[in-house]
């Protein structure tokens, strides 16, 4: 088990919602617009980053309330539960604060406590949209295996923004300053690239180990946009300074990596597969990842509208494999019927107009 005694305060359409008695499988059932995805979004903010909608913080506080929000939960693993939470205070709306056991914590360090990953309808376009979404998807999976990944990414992004500012400025950038920044970027960038390569290798292994199932088997590969070695990265950026100065930004680096997915057997690129095949490959990746990740830290898997779109055979296999991962699962649906084949009794809530009542 992972999360329990969850509390949402002024979080989107939830004024004060409590979810108690969570189990391994947890269902949120209710009509369209009831606030089911909002609950998943709240849980996704118990991880570093911007959550499953990648929302602006200012969009989240409940309309008509005082301009802040709070999400809290008990992390149940080991003997004593740890209370973790995140909040936005109306008087400091630029920054969400994070706490564990009552003490403030940088958001990146949430990953030391638990991993949160998700599948949402918006991700149906993951393979056809830009590389950014695939990179974030991959990075979330890396983070579950290597909790330092978020800190390296933050450091890299910060250094990159600094370098881009120097490259885009009117004045000719100070060469020594660039040297110093590129050293920092290379150190963090190499760790990022290595984390991605290792994660994809382990995923590929885990996927290959699954017997041919009802879900199309994906083949994964990182398409690196830069070397994974700090020394080579330093060389790359030094050699690229003139071009980067012309472009006003850093053209090459791990911030341009991509995740390539093809269907095993056919070798067809995921973007060219049918909608159903794409979804099946996403599920296969998510399941393989859950199996890898659930061992180290509590893993919370948020599956928004996943069950309803599968046929009964695939649904049953999905549930069985989910049960085997050891992750805590949160699923949404408009009715209970598609969940009838769950291998064990779920905790369930009926969600209506921003309120949740146990079913």
């Amino acid at each position: 088990m992972a999360l329990d005694r969850i509390r949402l305060a002024d979080f989107r359409n939830h004024a004060a919602t409590r979810l108690e008695g969570a189990g391994r499988f947890n269902l949120l059932i209710g009509p369209n617009g009831a606030g089911k995805t909002n609950v998943l979004e709240a849980l996704s903010l118990l991880a570093p980053g911007r959550g499953l909608r990648r929302a602006q913080l200012s969009d989240i506080p409940r309309e008509g309330a005082h301009g802040g929000f709070a999400v809290g939960a008990d992390l149940v693993s080991g003997v004593t539960p740890v209370r973790i939470g995140t909040a936005l205070r109306a008087d400091n709306p630029g920054r969400r604060i994070v706490q564990a056991s009552g003490a403030p914590l940088p958001a990146t360090r949430l990953a030391e406590w638990l991993s949160v990953t998700w599948l949402t309808p918006a991700m149906d376009r993951l393979f056809t949209d830009s590389a950014g979404g695939r990179r974030r998807f991959l990075d979330r999976m890396v983070l579950a295996l290597r909790p330092d990944h978020a800190a390296h990414s933050t450091r890299y992004d910060k250094a990159l923004r600094e370098r881009n500012r120097l490259m885009g400025g009117d004045a000719r950038p100070d060469a020594g300053w660039l040297d110093a920044l590129e050293k920092e970027m290379a150190e963090a960038g190499a760790l990022i690239a290595q984390g991605r390569a290792e994660t994809v290798a382990r995923l590929a292994e885990a996927i290959a180990a699954v017997p041919d199932g009802p879900f199309a088997q994906p083949e994964l590969r990182v398409e690196p946009a830069a070397p994974a070695d700090a020394g080579e990265l330093v060389e790359l950026w030094r050699a690229g300074r003139a071009a980067d100065r012309g472009a006003g930004r850093t053209l090459a680096g791990p911030h341009r990596d991509d995740l390539s997915v093809t269907m095993a057997g056919t070798g067809r690129a995921a973007a060219e597969c049918s909608t159903g095949e794409q979804k099946a490959m996403l599920i296969a990746i998510t399941l393989a990842h859950a199996e890898l990740a659930a061992g180290s830290r509590p893993l919370v898997l948020l599956l928004d509208e996943v069950a309803a779109h599968l046929d009964p055979v695939r649904r049953a296999v999905l549930y069985e494999r989910l049960a085997a991962t050891g992750a805590q699962i949160w699923m949404t649906g408009t009715e209970t019927e598609p969940f009838a084949s769950l291998p064990e009794r779920p905790a369930a809530w009926r969600v209506t107009s921003g309120e949740a009542v146990p079913l």
């Binding site: 940088p106 800190a151 450091r155 910060k158 250094a159 923004r161 600094e162 370098r163 500012r165 120097l166 400025g169 100070d174 020594g176 300053w177 040297d179 110093a180 920044l181 050293k183 920092e184």
Partner: protein, 203 residues
């Protein structure tokens, strides 16, 4: 009817000045003001006198950039301190934190900030020229870079290390067993001591 604040404007102003002090905030500030008001003939007079004295005598040390009541500052003027070692820090607060720990016996150099393109702080905005000049004058064996573990702090450390590369000094850096993103100013003395003891050459 709007309720009237029973306190006068001056008292309100004092409370709001105190509230701005780090770690205080409006509530503690009101408590402090009340305490002072009750002791206006003793504690308040005393506080006022020490504030005025500090305000009148505060100067920036022309050697290291420390803020003290004398120039050169008490650290630079102390003949028992190691003249051959300079510890470079971002801000005066870092100097004070390190010196409170009484672990480092050399002298300091305050940069007055850290490199940040986004904040518009470049090398020429920091006291890097005067550091190079101090090293240039000779008699210095070691420069300890004690920047914060933040991205900006470490970028600044790399930058200075490179500028010192050609000079005949040993450049070392605090061993950052410190949390990533850690600020010296907030570190306990045990962690600082460890970082200082385990300082390592830069290269």
């Amino acid at each position: 009817m709007a309720s009237q604040d029973p306190r006068g404007n001056e008292i309100e102003r004092l409370a709001s000045s105190l509230a701005r002090l780090p770690g205080l905030g409006p509530r503690s500030a009101r408590r402090a003001v009340l305490w002072l008001v009750k002791r206006r003939d003793t504690a308040l007079v005393d506080l006022l006198a020490s504030l005025t004295a500090v305000q009148e005598s505060l100067v920036e040390c022309q050697v290291c950039g420390n803020v003290d009541t004398s120039d050169p500052c008490h650290v630079c003027a102390d003949p028992r301190r190691d003249q051959r070692s300079i510890c470079v820090v971002e801000d005066v607060a870092d100097l004070w934190a390190l010196d409170r720990a009484k672990l480092y016996t050399g002298r300091y150099h305050v940069l007055g900030g850290r490199l940040s393109a986004l904040d518009g702080v470049g090398p020429e905005d920091l006291a890097i020229g005067s550091l190079l000049a101090r090293v240039e004058e000779g008699g210095i064996d070691e420069v300890v870079l004690a920047m914060n573990a933040t991205l900006e702090g470490q970028t600044t450390a790399h930058y200075i290390a490179e500028r010192l590369e050609e000079r005949p000094v040993r450049v070392t850096q605090l061993a950052h067993g410190l949390p990533v993103g850690g600020e010296l100013d907030y570190m306990d003395e045990g962690t600082l001591a460890q970082a200082l003891r385990a300082r390592r050459p830069v290269g």
